[in-house]
């Protein structure tokens, strides 16, 4: 019996990198939501801080899982990641501009700054990983 090779339809298996990065972003956005929900009062930082810590741990999880990948299209990953990082920096620059312009301070400033940092790490990782995972490289 001759078996023809299965046509390749991409790597769509659940991956800890994608899950950790997506959830890290979700937690970061929840932290912003919590702080915003208290406006114009200063939000109690405990919940927002909790979500930011979870987001940080998930980010670390994404980086560790990514570094353990074998047979991965690293060149494509970094190629995509640097451009996505550039776009993320444009978003960050606009965010900083608004914060400075609006004279944001206190908990809001702290939370938005950390969220921007987390986004600057997670967005390039998530997008570049989800692109590069479909590329087949010689083992």
């Amino acid at each position: 019996m001759v078996t023809s090779p299965e046509p390749y339809a991409g790597d769509t298996k659940g991956s800890p990198v994608a899950w950790c990065s997506s959830l890290a972003l979700a937690c970061a956005f929840i932290a912003i939501g919590i702080v915003t929900s208290y406006l114009p009062r200063e939000a109690p930082l405990a919940w927002a801080l909790g979500f930011l810590i979870v987001s940080g741990v998930l980010t670390l999880g994404a980086v560790v899982s990514l570094s353990r990948r074998r047979g991965f299209a690293w060149r494509l990953f970094f190629n995509v990641a640097r451009w996505v990082f550039l776009v993320t920096m444009v978003f960050t620059a606009m965010g900083i501009y608004i914060m400075v312009y609006d004279q944001v301070k206190g908990a809001m400033l702290a939370v938005i700054s950390v969220v921007m940092l987390l986004a600057a790490v997670n967005v390039p990782i998530l997008i570049a990983f989800c692109v590069a995972r479909h590329e087949r490289v010689a083992q």
Binding site: A9, L25, I32, F91, M94, Y101, V131
Partner: protein, 190 residues
């Protein structure tokens, strides 16, 4: 040979479009700096409507059409459409969110008391969910398809799978953004 009409290797992002994006962002920065209410409103309404409209169009108009096209026509359409999406969508998102935040500050929507404040929280939640879906699914699918189309022998199966995913998620995002319109309609009538 309709699908093979575009054979030369072109840049992934239409570079000429970067000038337009730069001009739009520069205008937005100036409008925010000047605290100009009407132009801020213009930016927010136009960019937000386009963002929602394009997502709905992709999900509910292009989505059902694409699988019925011949593979070469499908590839030709994708090859021309996706580079533009890569430039248009992030710009619309950035303009909508930035001008919306400033507009909310100017009109006092950020500081409404509860229960009105729930509308603001709902809006932020919707935008957060659509952002995560865009980062995790839409943008990777868009870029992967573009890179695949640049290869001498693109993987049609992978492209059609990712395009299907892109269009479904764009449709879901569009529906969520319509829900955000409900919030905005409430704001506009206060």
């Amino acid at each position: 040979m309709p699908g093979g009409a575009v054979t030369k290797q072109t840049a992934i992002v239409p570079l000429a479009g970067l000038w337009i994006v730069g001009a739009v962002l520069a205008a937005l920065v100036a409008v925010i700096a000047g605290n100009w209410y009407s132009p801020l409103n213009f930016f927010h309404v136009v960019a937000g409507s386009l963002w929602t409209g394009i997502d709905l169009f992709m999900g509910f108009v292009i989505g059902p059409i694409l699988p019925r096209l011949d593979p070469p026509a499908r590839i030709a359409l994708t090859r021309r459409l996706m580079p533009k999406m890569l430039l248009i969508m992030p710009t619309l998102v950035l303009v909508t969110l930035t001008s919306g935040w400033q507009l909310g500050r100017l009109r006092g929507f950020l500081f409404l008391p509860y229960p009105h404040h729930w509308w603001l929280v709902a809006s932020i939640a919707i935008v957060g969910i659509t952002a995560v879906m865009a980062y995790a699914i839409l943008e990777p699918a868009n870029i992967t398809v573009l890179l695949e189309l640049r290869k001498p022998q693109p993987n049609g199966l992978l492209i059609s799978r990712l395009m299907r995913r892109f269009i479904y998620i764009a449709g879901i995002n569009g529906v969520m953004l319509v829900a955000n319109f409900v919030v905005m309609a409430r704001f506009a009538t206060w």
